[in-house]
Amino acid sequence: MMHIDRGLGAGRRAAALAIAVALVAAPTALAQSSAAEGIAKYREALQDGNPAELWEARGEGLWKEPRGPAKASLEQCDLGLGAGVVKGAYAQLPKYFADADRVMDLETRLVWCMVKLQGTSDADARKNPFGNGTDRKSNIEALVAYITSESRGVKMNVSLAHPKEAQMYKVGDKIFYFRGGPHDFGCVTCHGADNQRIRLQDLPNLTKVEGAQKAYTTWPAYRVSQGELRTFQWRLNDCFRQQRFPELEFGSDASIALTMFLAKNANGAAFDAPAIKR
């Protein structure tokens, strides 16, 4: 939770100052442009320097550096396009991996590679999926930033050819509509209709291709409100928190099923992340 200095300066609206300010202030365009346009301009202005690049750079280093008990890099990790192929890999995930006999998203595949190639224990590999500040940086988030950046501009192309992939998609579809908890919420509560917003935040309609494409291709993202790079696993985790559900486990089957549902629905759109969001 951000606690920026809200309210701390509230008592300092000196009258003398107000006069000076009124004289100095340039005419604001606020009156002419709607709030929505203003926020669109704000988002545009943020695009110029996305701190996600700091995560991408750290992730590339982590990918190439020999690490873990086996002192091996991740460069031989097969993300679905063959050992070591990073370019375009994210645009066709999640997918079925025969070696694990499981449908995996990027994060679970990374954990798999850390265990198999670097000799890291499974528990250690999945220990810190969501970072928090300098003292608790997440290697997973950095690796995801790097790998996803290598799919920028690549068209989403997720396959359901394997029966387990098709099954994951169908279960993800079901989970999307699953309502529960004290508030009866489900994903569909906020993401099942066009042109809706929560407070002032626009909500993508994830039951439609355009909505799924726009949402899925812009994660991961540098979250301005947190000063952190957040992955799609984080996005799902925090949605369920706000749905008043228990905690979605990192890399769980339900998380992969939902990712599969949304990624497949985003097929055909060019991937455009890491992005920067409010």
Binding site: V171, I175, Y177, G181
Partner: protein, 206 residues
């Protein structure tokens, strides 16, 4: 291998694949339910029992975001109508100022929330209410001038209170939480939110 055996094997394989690719819808629902149970962990005040659906939640999940068939909708509404408990003192309209605070408050029931901390209705997340608050959502209809447009009579008070207590009694598979039925808001809090909608002095009705 005889031609017959090859044919048989091919048929068998086709059946297997067929089973794997198109299991029945019920089967998928069971799989989803099982998968959810194994994919979440209890944290803070949010236990795994929150994944156990009641009849309404199950039927509305099956409706998959659409309006359920009429007989199902009627069943849901009837069941939920029976749960509404009106205040014993007969007073339905509380303090709109508290109601406004409850409408603004987004916390409550999340695993990240202090179980002893505030629990709100977060009404502004989905509804326009008092015109002074511009940061309102649009998942639900605008409630600006709710009482002014509909009248301040006892029947409308009962509707407003009942709708907040259990929205499913009036519109099956509504996206709105059942604040009273599910113990999110207390009786007094529901009275106060009712006042925000129904008190002629409330900013909502100006």
């Amino acid at each position: 291998m005889t031609a017959r055996r090859i044919l048989f094997a091919a048929l068998f394989a086709a059946i297997l694949v067929g089973c794997a690719t198109s299991p029945s819808d019920d089967r998928i629902s069971v799989d989803a339910s099982t998968m959810l149970k194994s994919s979440f962990k209890a944290r803070g005040q949010a236990g795994l029992d929150r994944l156990d659906q009641d009849d309404t939640q199950r039927l509305c999940s099956e409706a998959a975001g659409k309006t359920p068939p009429r007989e199902v909708a009627e069943r849901i509404e009837k069941q939920n109508l029976a749960t509404i408990q009106y205040p014993a003192d007969g007073k339905l309209v509380g303090d709109w100022k508290n109601g406004e605070k409850i409408a603004q408050e987004g916390r409550g029931k999340q695993y990240s929330d202090d179980p002893a901390g505030p629990v709100g209705g977060n009404c502004y997340a989905c509804h326009q209410l008092a015109p002074q608050e511009v940061a309102y959502g649009t998942i639900g209809p605008s409630l600006y001038r709710f009482g002014k447009l509909r009248g301040y009579g006892i029947e409308m008070q009962r509707y407003a209170y009942g709708k907040i207590f259990n929205s499913e009694a009036f519109a099956a598979c509504s996206t709105m939480p059942r604040f009273g039925h599910n113990g999110i808001l207390s009786e007094q809090q529901i009275k106060d939110v009712t006042a925000l909608l129904m008190d002629p002095a409330s900013p909502v009705n100006q």
